[in-house]
Each structure stands twice: as C-alpha cells, then as structure tokens.
C-alpha cells in the first residue's frame, strides 16, 4: 500500500518539468559510520528513491565544504552548535519539519530546541551527553555532584582523569560553578581557572583516550566520560567484576544533538523531506540507533531497540536530568578558554 502511495507521489512529481531527472535520487551527507545500512535499504524499498551517501568527520569539514560551494547534497546532519552558523551563512533552507506527519513522534523536550527555536530548519537526530564516570566499587558511594570530581576526597585523590579538550572541561566547570557557557567575563573565567588549578594535584591524566582502560585497571576512580563510551566501559568492566558507573550529577550534564537539515543548494528537496519524515518513524530510528549506539529523541522506539540499547542507563538519561547544550564559542571567549587551559598545563 505504502509502495503504491510512494509511486503515485513519484508519478505526480514526474509531471513537474525539472524534477523529471531527479525524483528517484537522494544525496545524504552524514558523519562517518553514522548511517544504518538497514534503514537506508528500507527507505529505498519503500520509496524507490536511490540513496547515495557521502561522509565527513567533523562539523568543520561539513561547513568548509558547503562554504566552498559544494552542491548536490540533499540532507546533512550537523551538530546543534553548528546549526546557527549554517543558518547565518545561508547554507541551509527552511523546510518546516512540523508539517511532516512523523514529527508527532518527536519527544516534547526536543521540539523547538534552543538552536532552532521555531523548528524551521531542523529535525532531531541522535543526541548524547558528556559527564563523569566512576568506579562505584572503589568509590564506595554514589557520585552525586560535580564537586566530588573537581574537589576529590581521599578515595579519588590522584586518581582523577580529565579530558584533554579544553571546551568540555571548561564547560563542566561552568556547570559546577553555575555559570553560562562561552563566558566572556574574565572574572568568571578566573574562578574556572582557580577551580581547575586546585583540582590539578589530584589529577593523574589529561587525556581524551583510554578512559575505560584507566577506570577498569583502577588507575582512575573518577574520569570525564561520554555516555556512549561509558556504556562500553560498564559492559567491559562487568566481565571482571568492576563497576563502572556513568554519573548524572545534580548540576547537570553537557548535551549534544545532531540534526537533519536541508542545504540551500539541495536538488531533491521533496525526497529530502521524505527521508527526514522516514527517519522520524520510531521503527526506522530504532534501526539507526541499534547501529550507532546513540539515543534519539523519538517516542515509541523501544519496541525496535535491542536489549542493551533499551536498558542502558548511559543512553536513557533520567527524565529529570538537566542537560545543558554546549555552543561554538565566539573568538573572545574561545581565547579565554585557551588562556585558562595554557595556564593549567604550563
């Protein structure tokens, strides 16, 4: 039935003069290893649209490519902090995601997000969080505040691991101090610096690799961590009876979300909308989530998720957790972040 409708729509589109050559194609530009082949196969079978995938490895690459005048992409999936940049640079077009039938499946908390207040340019894709993970068996209690990470007690002194990415660490400090991200105020950044300098004697590594290794072998008791990695750490540690727990501190966690957008130069806008609508169906997004291991803000996905994805506390953040989204900082606040970081490591 659906196939019939799809071919009927395709037939109608074929009548419009310049769509004749393009109606069966969709060019998706997505992150590397971030597209479920099963979901694409299903989309192609349902709609008869042939999908071509190209990949990028950073938001900067995507931005640079579009700015350099790359055309022909119909759907791109940038992170939330690059959405305003793409809109300002007029590289994307409005497409009213709210009018798509499957938009009703989007969880309320992801509707009208900060980076696209009227939901004109984006539809939600995967999302994730950054917080700290800890060895619950060594620590002896639940970690409830980021203060336990920044001012560790005896249990964790000398066994704290911190990311090597200044933005994420400074953002965690902002969360703990109750400040806003991308802070241009030198006095507030001074407090961040004091906090991180006071923490330093308790730190064993500044590194964004091997977090799970250090937690499992006991080098670290508390470590900054991404939720997807924490899931791997928990399953890995459980094999030898080590308990690696991803914390949801009361101050909140840092969030990121990827979004489906349509470039201004897209040649197959209607197909792009069909694809975006397709991905917002719970059974399809579940295929995608099982493939990547990330959460997605679509209601009713549970039935399609595998056991691990459905139950993982790292992926399924409690509903009352405060998730604060990071931003691409402007030049002055970025300079302050770099300065603080150099002062900590010099």
């Amino acid at each position: 039935m659906r196939l019939l409708v799809a071919s009927a729509v395709a037939g109608l589109l074929a009548l419009s003069p310049n769509a004749a050559w393009s109606e069966e194609k969709l060019f998706l530009y997505n992150w590397t290893d971030y597209t479920s082949p099963e979901a694409i196969k299903k989309f192609e079978a349902e709609t008869g649209i042939k999908v071509t995938i190209d990949t990028y490895d950073s938001n900067e690459t995507l931005l640079a490519k579009l700015k350099a005048g790359a055309t022909g992409y119909d759907v791109i999936i940038p992170s939330h902090n690059f959405v305003p940049i793409l809109i300002d640079e007029k590289l994307v077009q409005k497409y009213d995601a709210k009018a798509l039938p499957n938009f009703a499946n989007v969880e309320d908390r992801w509707k009208n997000p900060e980076w696209d207040k009227n939901q004109e340019y984006t539809a939600p894709f995967h999302w994730g969080t950054t917080s700290v993970a800890y060895r619950e068996d060594l620590y002896g209690k639940k970690l409830e505040s980021l203060g336990e990470f920044f001012k560790p007690g005896d249990k964790a002194a000398g066994r704290v691991s911190v990311f090597k990415t200044p933005e994420e660490v400074v953002n965690l400090a902002h969360l703990y101090l109750g400040q806003k991200f991308c802070n241009p105020d030198p006095a507030e950044m001074q407090k961040v610096q004091d906090l991180l300098l006071a923490q330093k004697p308790a730190v064993n590594t500044y590194s964004s690799e091997g977090m799970n290794d250090r937690l499992i072998n006991g080098d670290s008791v508390i470590s900054t961590q991404w939720n997807g990695y924490a899931l791997k750490g928990r399953t890995e540690g459980a094999k030898s009876g080590k308990i690696v727990t991803y914390a949801y501190p009361k101050e909140g966690v840092i969030g990121w979300m990827d979004n489906m957008m349509i470039p201004a130069t897209a040649g197959n806008v209607e197909n792009a909308k069909k694809f975006i609508n397709f991905m917002m169906a719970p059974e399809n997004m579940a295929l995608q989530a099982n493939f990547t291991g990330y959460a997605a803000g679509i209601k009713g996905m549970e039935a399609g998720l595998n056991e691990e994805m459905r139950t993982a506390p790292e992926i399924n953040a409690p509903a009352d957790v405060k998730i604060v989204f990071s931003w691409a900082c402007d030049a002055p606040s970025q300079k302050l972040i770099d300065k603080v970081w150099t002062n900590i490591l010099k």
Partner: protein, 305 residues
C-alpha cells in the same frame, strides 16, 4: 656545440637535481609555508587570514591586558624551559646508558658486532606509539613491575607503586625510544678507535679513569656529540611520551604546537612555536658543526703527537 667548459657543471647540476628537488619540495617548501603562516592572522574558525601580523611571536612572551597593553607573561617560556630541561636530562641519561653499550659492542670480535648492532636496531622496526603503549603495560597499575610485589603481598589490592603518569615515566619512555640513535654514532667512532692507544696509556701508568678521560672520550667525541644531538632534537619536540606516560599534565613544546593546530585553532601561533623549536634545532646543529671542527683539529693534533 655548447662550450665544453660548461658541460661538467651542467652535468653535475643535472645529477644533483633529483636530490635538490626532494629537499626543496619536502623540506624547504613546508618550512617556508610554516614561516609564512607564523606571520599571518588567525581565523577564529581555524585556518588563517591573509593579513601580516607579528602577533604570534609577541604572544609568546606577552599578553594583552584589557586596556590592550602588553604585559610580560612567562607561561610559554616555562614550557620551553621544561622541554629543554627534560630533553637535556634524557640526553645525558641516554649517554650514560648508551656509552657502555657502544663500548661493549666495539670490544666484541668483529663477527659478533653486527649481531649486537642488529639487536639494538630491532625496536626501530616497530611503531613508536606501540612501543610507548607497551610501557603503560609495564609501568602501570597491575603492570609487569608491580606484579611480583603483589604476589609477595607487599602491595595490597588497591595499592600502587605510582610509577605511571610521572616525570620518571616520561624520561624512561624517552630513553627507551631514542637510545639506539645514541649508541650507533658512538659505536661508529669507537669502532675506529685504535685500542693500542688505550694500552699505551696504561703502559704509561695512567689509571683506568685517566685513560678513559684523556684517551677514549676525546677520540669518541665526534660520536658522542652526534649521538647527543640526534637524541636531544627529537626529545625537544616529543609529545607522545609526555602525553601517554606523563599523563599530559604539563605542556611540552611538541604538545603546545599540536594543541594550537588541533584545539585552539590558532595556526599562526602553532607555526610560530614550531619556528622557535626549529631555531633551537638549528642552534644545536651549528654548535655541533663547531664541535666537530674542533674535535677534528684535536684528533689531528693527537695523530701528530
């Protein structure tokens, strides 16, 4: 037809052309690009703006306060001094460990020497990153060194010797990575050493230490200097060992350059730091050339004596 006097020069030039092209393309051009970038303005989203600015070099020693006045700041200078200190320490330790090895090999029967040299170079066949990771397994918690202590009950279940993530671990990693390039040049000069001179020194009632100080060391000096330079330069720019074994707690010159390009999105400053690093390397090489010339003059004098 063409004047025959020019032909040899032309031929020589043509013969050298491939080598010149390789050096020009893979060394001079990249260095020139780096030098150029270090004098441009940074683009906040990465990359550069094509506008001349000495800011990258000014930034190394001064920072601008809110009123845009230049204020001296020592942060980057400390990083340079720390890198220099660590490189000097690693070089001296490499020398102390490497010299006896080279001497030992040089005193072996000629047919055995190649086997020893071969053994020394084997680690070079493996990626440096992998070899450094191996030290995490050796020095780390529950690692090779700690295991016996654990079996004997000296270390409790949650105790550690704390070898990892220290300056000690960094220096161990540096020595291990660079000792072959210390041993080989020293061996090369000791191999040529005429051991009859050592015997003559002993016959003339010189103590072992005096012989070592006045005969062996001066004759091995070109090798010692070459080895020291070859170890010192990569140690100065090393960032794998400080990051993996030292826990990245203190920035080194190498990590500073990497940080500027990858994270801070300040390419001109990264390029400027790399140029400063290069300046140190060139200074070392000039000093080496000087020392080699003096050593040459000295051994010449010895031969005449």
């Amino acid at each position: 037809m063409i004047a025959s006097a020019q032909t040899p020069a032309l031929r020589r030039f043509l013969g050298l052309l491939p080598a010149l092209a390789v050096i020009g393309l893979f060394m001079l051009v990249p260095v020139a690009i780096m030098a150029l970038y270090s004098f441009l303005e940074a683009n906040p989203f990465g990359g550069i703006v094509w506008r001349f600015s000495p800011e990258a070099y000014v930034q190394f020693l001064f920072e601008r306060d809110l009123a845009d006045n230049l204020v001296f700041q020592s942060g980057y200078l400390i990083i340079i001094l720390r890198s220099l200190g660590l490189a000097v320490l690693a070089t001296i330790l490499c020398l102390i460990v490497g010299f006896p090895i080279a001497y030992f090999i040089a005193r072996q029967p000629a047919r055995h020497r190649n086997i020893w040299i071969y053994l020394i170079t084997i680690p070079f066949w493996t990626n440096q990153l992998v070899r450094t990771f191996a030290w995490i397994i050796i020095l780390g918690r529950n690692g090779t060194i700690e295991l016996p202590f654990r079996w004997l009950g000296i270390l409790g279940a949650d105790d550690t010797l704390g070898l990892m993530y220290t300056d000690f671990a960094i220096v161990i990693g540096l020595i291990y990575a660079f000792i072959p390039i210390m041993v080989l040049p020293i061996y090369a000069s000791l191999e040529k050493l005429d051991f009859r001179l050592v015997e003559a020194s002993a016959d003339l009632y010189s103590s072992t230490f005096e012989t070592f100080r006045r005969v062996i060391i001066p004759l091995a000096k070109p090798g010692i200097v070459a080895g020291s330079i070859l170890v010192f330069i990569p140690c100065l720019g090393a960032f794998i060992q400080p990051d993996l074994l030292g826990g990245g707690k203190k920035l080194m010159l190498g990590s500073l350059v990497q940080f500027q390009f990858a994270t801070a999105r300040n390419w001109p400053f990264g390029a400027a730091v790399a140029m400063i690093l290069l300046a140190f390397v060139v200074l070392c090489l000039l000093w080496y050339a000087q020392a080699a010339r003096r050593a040459g003059a000295q051994s010449g004098a010895l031969a005449h004596a």
